[in-house]
Subunit: 412 residues, 2 copies
């Protein structure tokens, strides 16, 4: 892993040898999340546009030289990444953003962006010789981890609060995860998971706590640029919960900028729900992140105590970006508009980035000349109840042509 | 469309100019479904392995020369096809079929194999100048049609029986389809859809009735062979409802055999639920297909009156294949085993092909030396209730390490 120089604490800046450091900074504790620092001059010799052009592996593993893994070790079988980046011209014209592109990450194996991070977590667990992996989560991170683990025969132990949605628990169980329904809050489940990880020697795939996960998420940015012929977009909109995705996207663009593959850093715009906007508040007030009680139906971003805030805030500041907050109704409206105009069906948190774009357009914070990428982070089939709330009522008719004709007349 | 010689009736063999024939044989009526007949010597000049090698369009449109469309017309934006074909070695060894491969078609845009057919239907509707398209269905065909239509701004009118599952209706509504809940059976909805199609000039995407849909489904077979380096598998297992998928797969293998791309026709094995096996019965007794009352929770193959039986039976006979029937419990068991061992989460009908393989192995109808492909036709997120039925209960614990340890001791 000579491409990695060190792991650097996001708080105190101390640097550590990856071989000899636990998950977070020994000096700053669990809040001292670590950033992976690369040797770009070494990477530049191994990783070129020409080699990529002849690389037929259309998955995140095409970027192996830019990932914090031993290149010789196992690649995982599930096909993660290289999700479609659609030109959404008609929708773009309708909303006043004609150069609109949509990256559909609901097309990943377990139907969310999280598969990018889970793949790195699982690959790392195998590299380090672990027999089992664990995380605390109520949603996509957990189902993603259990699915990717299943594909390589790694045991997974998942901690979820006992009131977790049954549907998401079902997906975990199907993949064969050992699921602990913790009689307590999500925060208690998280703490218990860290404790169990230490006690039983399971590898920890906990957002932010594990420094490598955002490195998996950066592959989304690498793909966007390669799919655009190495012309970086002007602006990227994405939903924000823990902050790991926006932080990861920044890292991907940063890497490409260091390597000279692109010529500018896109402006990164994070979108939170109005009922849960701790990162927006911290960013705009320049204060520390305050824990809030989340109130939004977009469950994947209902994160009151965001664990990856430092990387998210760096992404926003370095890219000259900003934060937007949208209401649950705006999320539901965006969900319907996106599906009707593009055929892309996202879950509420999955389309929150698009809802944020609509709001930013209405506030004239985006210029129509900009090339904008919206990242859809999860598939709508993950949350059918919200889809029903966002939909009109269907029409019930008797089985006759006359009834169809009557209904059509009423419609026009 | 000079690559198409004619459309030939599957009953009487009469041949028709595609420009001058309605959907089915004028002489045999709606039962006289039509087969697309190609000019393979013409196609062989345009469609070569070498050209495919340099074609970077990894979707069904890479096979445009083999599809019944005007090549110059619009290609659709949604990325359909080129779904992963996984080597499932560990699972294969466990079940006594070491050369096992799994094609995961739940990775399509609307999460089922049906997107292959809908894409052809929608492309054809646009080619013929229609403003709207229609179908009757309770499940994946409908959501697929509405999603693909949404991506190109084509209006879709969907007829479903009034007791259709709410979740599937939600997906339709999200994509902006006009949904008619017909107060009657599925058969009444089907007949009303055909009537409305004639009356209002909507293009009909009804399975079998429209001769082009199985041509879309054949792309699954084309991909399997190309992904295997043009070495056709020995045997393919797939679930059977209307019979359109197995008929389409046969057509794809047949095309490649005619073009000399592969050297043998794989044996095609169709799998139905024990509570709904009209095609198995017709195949084994050599009698006409008898309509049955479906009794299975695998809703996508709960088809009592299969519309594409003629093409399915041809596929079985010509390929020296056979039919298997499995119980609902066997389907649920197969669903869990596949997810746990490979990370592929299929809906019940989606994994019925795999359940059939397990049964055929137990009956020694498959030799361990065979290279077997199982096609997973739909994503498990389409039917979370069945996943819950197939899953063990999760473990509820108090938030303490001691509780975790106690639970783990009990487990081992």
């Amino acid at each position: 892993m000579d491409q990695v120089v060190c792991l650097r604490c996001m708080i105190c800046g101390r640097e550590y040898d990856p071989e000899n450091v636990p998950y977070t900074c020994p000096s700053c504790g669990p809040e001292g999340i670590l950033d992976v620092i690369y040797d770009y001059s070494l990477i530049a010799r191994r990783f070129t546009k020409e080699r990529l052009l002849s690389n037929r592996d259309l998955s995140i593993w095409r970027y192996l030289e830019l990932l914090p893994l031993e290149p010789k070790k196992l690649r995982l079988p599930l096909h993660v990444g290289w999700t479609p980046l659609y030109q959404a011209e008609e929708l773009g014209r309708d909303v006043g953003c004609p150069h609109l592109l949509v990256k559909d990450d609901g097309r990943n194996p377990t139907a969310s962006f999280k598969d990018r991070a889970s793949s790195i977590g699982v690959a790392k667990a195998i590299e380090l010789g672990h027999q089992a992996i664990t995380c605390a989560s109520t949603g996509n991170a957990a189902s993603s981890l259990s699915g990717v683990s299943a594909s390589v025969g790694l045991r997974s132990f998942i901690f979820v609060p006992h009131n977790a949605p049954k549907a998401k628990v079902a997906q975990l169980l199907m993949y064969g995860a050992k699921v602990f329904l913790v009689q307590g809050t999500y925060d208690q489940a998280f703490d218990l998971c860290l404790e169990a990880s230490r006690e039983f020697g399971w590898y920890s795939r906990n957002t932010a706590f594990n420094p490598y996960l955002s490195e998996g998420k950066k592959t989304g940015a690498l793909e966007i640029c390669e799919q655009l012929g190495w012309r970086a977009p002007d602006t990227v909109f994405v939903s924000v919960g823990d902050g790991c995705i926006i932080g990861g996207l920044w890292k991907g663009f940063h890497d490409l900028l260091q390597l000279g593959f692109i010529d500018h850093m896109p402006r990164l715009v994070g979108v939170q729900a109005e009922g849960c906007q701790p990162i927006k508040h911290a960013f705009e007030t320049c204060q520390a992140v305050k824990t809030v009680q989340p109130e939004t139906m977009a469950d994947s971003i209902a994160v009151g105590h965001p664990r990856d805030a430092l990387k998210a805030l760096r992404a926003l500041r370095d890219s000259d970006g900003f934060m937007v907050a949208v209401s649950d109704q705006q999320i539901l409206d965006a969900m319907g508009l996106l599906a009707r105009k593009t055929g892309i069906f996202g879950e509420p948190a999955g389309v929150t980035g698009f809802a944020g774009l609509l709001k930013a357009l209405s506030q004239e914070r985006v210029d129509p000349s900009e090339r904008v990428v919206v990242v859809v982070t999860g598939n709508g089939l993950k949350d059918v109840d919200s889809a029903l709330r966002a939909s009109p009522e269907p029409t019930e008719i008797e089985p006759s042509l006359e009834a169809v004709a009557r209904e059509l007349r009423g419609r026009s």
